[in-house]
């Protein structure tokens, strides 16, 4: 399955958002996830299944003015 994560194409074997976060070693606290422009709440990471062509954005809080 090919998906886009933060603008980069990725060959993913992950079934769910939760699996993807583990594969990417992404912290869970203080981040937010979008799947095809819709926010995925943390409570739904384990039940949100990835599909071919999905566009995923994972964002974090960083320094800014």
């Amino acid at each position: 399955m090919r998906i886009m994560v933060n603008g980069v194409e990725r060959q993913a074997q992950d079934a769910t958002i939760a699996d993807l976060m583990v594969s990417l070693e992404t912290p869970l606290n203080g981040v937010a996830v979008e799947r095809n422009r819709a926010i995925v709440p943390k409570s739904l990471y384990k039940t949100t299944y990835l599909e071919d062509g999905d566009e995923i954005e994972i964002v974090d809080i960083v320094g800014g003015g």
Binding site: V8, T26, G30, A32, E34, R37, I39, I58, G65
Partner: protein
């Protein structure tokens, strides 16, 4: 009014029912390290810091994170929409911020072009209305146009944040007359956001009657950011006290301070 110094007096900044003891808000961008940033926040003695929302760095999961240095337990995070040029981009960013950390007190900025980073006021007002309808408490970066400032307040923004001068320019308060007009007409806090270059700029903003000052580059790009953070803390306190004290009238000619009576 009490005669005691402001540091001993209860003079908090209240935004959307939330109380902050410091009237200085600082950004968390452009510092050499997050550790330096944390030390500057300490020296500035602030309660609130602005933060940005960006893609996670997937190539380096061990990268340092802001939250480990400038703790959201200690400081109120004010997520911004820096880099957004449309209302839709700004709303998307702040929805993500709310999901990431539950923050609903936000700094809205919708910019017009890269060269000036001047706010696009038509788009800013549209974004503000949409965000407020979604329950966000919007502190809004805006031009120093009193008419748009009034429209933003009428739309329900919880703080009006006019620029002193362009973001990151350090050119100070370029239009004190307009800032004063905005202060006089506003019933929500007015916070000068952008343009402060050095301590006197912050003091001038406060002497004009602003409720607070927001700055980033003036501290982060000072030769000694920690010392400048301390200077800004004092400048905001001094400017606030001078405003509350009420300055003397300006005169065209000298007025001796020593008595004329009894002169030999």
């Amino acid at each position: 009014m009490s005669n005691s110094a402001i540091s001993e007096r209860n003079d908090p900044l209240v935004i959307a029912g939330r109380t902050f003891k410091s009237r200085l808000i600082i950004g968390t961008g452009k510092y050499k390290t997050y550790a330096e940033n944390a030390a500057a926040a300490e020296a500035a003695d602030v309660d609130m810091v602005t933060v940005a929302i960006r893609r996670v760095n997937l190539g380096d999961p061990s990268k340092e994170r802001l939250t480990d240095f400038v703790s959201p337990e200690k400081y109120t995070y004010l997520p911004n929409t820096a880099g957004c040029f449309t209302a839709e981009d700004a709303i998307r960013t702040l929805r993500l911020a709310r999901e990431a950390g539950g923050w609903d007190l936000v700094k809205l900025e919708v910019l017009a072009d890269q060269k000036t980073l001047y706010p696009d006021m038509e788009e800013t007002l549209r974004a503000a209305k949409l965000l407020i309808s979604e329950g966000f408490k919007v502190m809004v970066y805006c031009s120093d146009d009193p008419v748009y400032a009034r429209k933003l307040e009428e739309a329900g923004c919880v703080a009006i944040m006019p620029l002193g001068s362009l973001i990151g320019s350090g050119l100070g308060i370029q239009n004190p007359v307009n800032i004063r007009l905005i202060v006089e007409q506003s019933r929500v806090p007015v916070i000068v956001d952008a343009g402060v270059g050095t301590a006197s700029d912050a003091a001038i903003a406060m002497e004009l009657g602003c409720d607070g000052v927001l700055m980033n580059t003036a501290i982060a790009e000072a030769k000694n950011p920690i010392l400048m953070a301390s200077a800004m803390r004092h400048a905001v306190l001094a400017g606030r006290e001078a405003y509350l004290a009420g300055r003397m009238g300006k005169k065209r000619y000298a007025d001796p301070s020593s008595p004329l009576a009894g002169l030999i």
